[in-house]
Assembly symmetry: C2
C-alpha cells in the first residue's frame, strides 16, 4: 500500500456513512475541532480562512447595497426578550443565561444574544424620530449563542458566527422590497461564490422566524440529498416596532411605527461547502472562497532544495502578485505523494507540481482538484493558465451543483410516491399543498420531510396529503 | 448667533471639562451610544467604521508577521480558569458567569471569556506534539467581557472588541523575540496609522498581566496629560504550558513544555483617537483611519441641485476611483454652515466645498480639519492635491503628537517636584526607581501616578521615593 492510499484510507467513504465522513473530513482537513464544552467548536485557521473569504465577499455586497456595520451588546436583559412573547417563546429554550457578574448576583438575568432584534429594536427607538432618519440600514457581524441539543460542527453549534442585517423603513412596501432584495443577494452570493445552486422562497408559518410576518430562505441540496437552509431574510412588519415603540413622524407629521426587516447568514456556509462539494478524497473548495487556491509541491528528487525550491518560490511570488492565494509545501518529512493527498483532503482547487525535469523543460504540471485533470503548462503561460483553470473550475462546480439539484428534484403528485421517494433517494420534492398546517405536520411525522420553500401561490393542483384544492406550489425535503 | 455656533455650543469645551467633552463628542459624532445595560455600549456605524479601518490595517500586519486567524469558544469552563490560580485571581472579580442553558442549570458554570489563554492553552495541548508543529502563531478577533465597575465608552466597557494573539514556541528566546516583535508592530501601527506618538517598555510586577512572566506595553499621552495603555504584549514563559500540559518532543526526542506569548489591542484605540486628536469643535481623525476622508459639501445657492450636484457627484466618483473614502452631504434641510460644523464634529480630515462660482472657475475649495487651512484648487489638480493634503495632515498630526509628548515629559529627580507636577500639569515623568513595589505603591497612594513603563535598567540614579540606589529608569503617569 503506498502512502497516498494510507492517508486517504483513514477517511470513511462518503457513500458508506455521510455523517461520519463529514466530521472526519473536518478534523482531517483541520477546519475545526471539538471544544471541551458540549456543542461548541474551535474554528481552526484553515476553516477560519474560508469563513474570512466568505465574510469579505458578503460584507462587500452588504455595503454595496447601502448597509453599514455596527456593533450591539452581547447581552440582552431578560425583560427585553419578555416584551415580545412569540419571540421569547421561540428562543427561550435555547438561551444561555448570565446570572452573575464577578462575585455578585445580577438583579436581572442577561441572555447571551440568540439574535439581536430586541436590543437593536430598543436602540432604533432612540435613534429614529422622523422620516428623515429612515431608512436605517444596519448590519452586524457577531457571535450568537443558542443552546442546541443535537449539534454538528458548522451546521448546528451552541455558538456560531454570523451577520445579521436589521433595517427600518417608512413603508411596508419598502421593507418587503428590502427583504426580497437581501434574499436575492444571498442567492446570487451562494451561487456565484460558493458554486452551490439554490432555490429560494417563502417559509410556511410553522417554519418562520419567531416574531416575523414572513420568512424567506435560500435552500440548497447537499450531496446526501438532504436540504440545508443557507440564509434567511425576514419581513418583520411592525411587530417589533410596536413592542419596542419605534415611531417616526411621517411626511404628514403623523406618528407611525416603522416597518422592519432582518436577515442573516452564518458559519453554516462552511458546512455547506463541505457537504455540497466534498468527495471520498476530502474537501473541494470553489476557487473564489478557497483558503489556498494553488498549492505548489516541489518534487523532492536529488538536490531539490537547491534546484527546485528557488524556482518554486519564484512561481509563488509571481502568482501572489497576480492576486492568487498560493502556498508552497516544502516539508522535508513527507513525500510528494503524501502531500498530494493531504492537499486533496484540504480541497485546494489547483495543485502545481514542479520537479527537476519540469525546470529543465521550463514547465510546470497543474492538476485540478475536482476532476483530477492534469496539464503541462509552460512557465510563460502559467499566470494565465491558472486564472483560466480556476475560472473554469468555479463555473463547472456551479454547473454540476445545478445539474445535481435538477436531477434530484422530483415532481410528485401522489402521497405513496412521496413517501417512497423520501424513504429512499430523498432530494427535493416539488408538489402542491393546500395551506393547512395539519397536512404539513402529518407529512413531517410520516416522512421527516418539511416544506423548505413556498415557490408560488397555485390553485391548479391538489394537496399532496389531503387531496383538497391546492393553495401553493412548494418544495419538500428532509433538512439539516 | 448663526447656526454654526449653535451647533458647536452644544459641546462642553475640552479645556473646561475633559471627561464631559469626551462623552459629548462620542454621542454628538454618533460614534457610540449607551446600551440599556450598565457599562455596555453600542458602537454606531460611524464609530464602527473607524474600528473596521483599525482592524483591517492591524490584521494586515498580523498576517504579514506570519500569524493566522482562528476562532475559539466564547465560554470557558470554570475548572479551566481554576487551573491557573494567579490568572483566576486576576480575572475572577470581573467574570460574567453563565449558569443556565435554556431551562436547565449547567453542571459547571461557564465564564464568558475575559481573555482566552485558558481555552487556547487547552486546545494547544491537543494540537502540539512535536517541534515540527512549532511555532504555532494564532490570532483571534473577538468580543471580551469584563465586569468593570467604573466604565467609560471605548476606554473601559463591560464588553469590548479586540484581537488576541497567542503563540507557542520551542525556546524561551524565540518566545521573547515574538513578544518584542509584536510590541514593535503595535508601536509602529499606533504611530503610523493613528498618528499618536508612544513610548514602550516593560511593566512592573504590580502592573503585569495575571499569569505572565513579563508584560510590555505601548503608552500614549492623551491631550489631558493622562496616559493611555494602547496595547500589551506578554511573555508567558511556561506558565500556561505547565498548567495545560502543552508538551512537545524536541529535536533530541525529549519532552518539553512550550514557551508562549499573548498580545492584544482593542476598541480602546478609538477612545485614544478621540482623546489624542480632538478639539473644541469635535473629533479630528487621522486620514489613514478616518471613516470618511473627504466630505463634499455643495454650496446650496439657487438651483444648486441642478447646477452643483452633478459636478459634486462627478468629483466623488473620481476620488472614489482613486481609493479615497468620500461622501457628499446633499441634505436639503441644513445650510452649508451647519454641515461644516457637523462634519468638523465628526472629524473628517478634509472638507471639499463646491458652489456655482467654483464650477464657473473650474475650482473647488479644500479645508483641512486640523489647522483649518483653506486652499482653492483647480479641478484638474484635485486628485493629487487631496492625496498631498491628506498625507501632510497625517504626518503633521504625528509630529504634533510627538511634540506634545516631548513637551509634557518631565525629567524629575525629587519627590516634592514629582508630587507638584502630578498635582498640576501631569504628563509623563521620567525618573528612577529602586525596584521595590512598596515605593511604587506609596507613590500611587500619594499621587495616583503609576509606572507606565520601565525604559531600561539603570544603576546610576537614586529612587525618586526612597532615595536608595536606582534599579530602573521608568516613566510615571496618571493613567486611564
Amino acid at each position: 500500500m503506498d502512502e497516498k492510499n494510507r492517508y486517504v484510507q483513514k477517511i470513511t467513504p462518503k457513500s458508506s456513512d455521510f455523517s461520519r465522513w463529514y466530521v472526519e473530513v473536518i478534523r482531517k482537513a483541520e477546519l475545526a475541532d471539538y471544544a471541551p464544552m458540549k456543542g461548541m467548536m474551535v474554528i481552526r485557521p484553515y476553516g477560519y480562512a474560508a469563513w474570512e473569504n466568505i465574510k469579505d465577499l458578503m460584507d462587500k455586497r452588504i455595503k454595496e447595497t447601502g448597509h453599514k456595520n455596527a456593533y450591539f451588546p452581547l447581552f440582552i436583559p431578560e425583560s427585553f426578550l419578555k416584551k415580545e412573547t412569540e419571540h421569547l417563546e421561540g428562543f427561550s429554550p435555547e438561551v444561555a443565561w448570565v446570572t452573575h457578574g464577578g462575585e455578585e448576583e445580577l438583579e436581572e438575568r442577561l441572555a447571551v444574544r440568540p439574535t439581536s432584534e430586541a436590543i437593536i429594536g430598543h436602540m432604533f427607538s432612540k435613534w429614529i424620530s422622523s422620516y428623515r432618519d429612515l431608512p436605517v440600514l444596519i448590519n452586524q457581524w457577531a457571535n450568537i449563542v443558542r443552546w442546541e441539543k443535537g449539534t454538528r460542527p458548522f451546521l448546528r453549534t451552541s455558538e456560531f458566527l454570523w451577520q445579521e442585517g436589521h433595517t427600518a423603513h417608512e413603508t411596508s412596501q419598502e421593507a418587503e422590497e428590502e427583504t426580497l432584495k437581501m434574499l436575492s443577494v444571498y442567492k446570487e452570493f451562494v451561487e456565484s461564490e460558493l458554486a452551490i445552486s439554490v432555490i429560494s422562497g417563502k417559509k410556511t408559518d410553522r417554519e418562520k422566524f419567531a416574531g416575523a410576518s414572513a420568512t424567506y430562505s435560500v435552500e440548497a441540496l447537499m450531496s446526501d440529498n438532504k436540504a440545508l437552509q443557507m440564509g434567511t431574510s425576514h419581513f418583520l412588519g411592525q411587530h417589533f416596532s410596536r413592542v419596542f415603540d419605534i415611531k417616526f413622524e411621517d411626511r404628514n407629521q403623523k406618528l407611525q411605527y416603522v416597518w422592519q426587516t432582518s436577515w442573516g447568514v452564518s458559519t453554516r456556509m462552511v458546512g455547506a461547502l463541505i457537504m455540497a462539494h466534498g468527495d471520498d478524497s476530502g474537501l473541494c473548495f470553489p476557487p473564489r472562497v478557497a483558503p489556498v487556491q494553488v498549492i505548489i509541491i516541489p518534487i523532492s528528487i536529488g538536490d531539490w532544495k537547491q534546484a527546485v525550491m528557488p524556482v518554486a518560490e519564484q512561481i509563488k511570488k509571481g502568482l501572489k502578485q497576480k492576486g492568487f492565494r498560493v502556498e508552497i509545501d516544502s516539508r522535508e518529512q513527507f513525500t510528494p505523494g503524501w502531500k498530494f493527498s493531504e492537499w486533496e483532503m484540504k480541497g485546494v482547487p489547483l495543485r502545481l507540481e514542479i520537479g527537476p525535469r519540469d525546470i529543465k523543460n521550463n514547465n510546470a504540471v497543474l492538476v485540478r482538484r475536482d476532476n483530477r485533470k492534469k496539464q503541462v503548462v509552460s512557465r510563460e503561460e502559467l499566470d494565465n493558465k491558472v486564472r483560466e483553470i480556476l475560472d473554469d473550475m468555479q463555473k463547472d462546480m456551479l454547473d454540476r451543483s445545478l445539474k445535481f439539484r435538477e436531477d434530484n428534484t422530483h415532481e410528485v403528485l401522489n402521497y405513496q410516491e412521496f413517501k417512497s421517494v423520501m424513504g429512499s433517494e430523498m432530494g427535493f420534492i416539488r408538489t402542491y399543498w393546500c395551506g393547512n398546517p395539519e397536512c404539513e405536520l402529518n407529512i413531517k411525522e410520516d416522512t421527516k420531510a418539511t416544506i423548505r420553500a413556498i415557490i408560488s401561490e397555485e390553485k391548479e393542483g391538489k394537496c399532496i396529503y389531503c387531496g383538497k384544492n391546492a393553495g401553493y406550489l412548494v418544495v419538500f425535503a428532509k433538512a439539516y
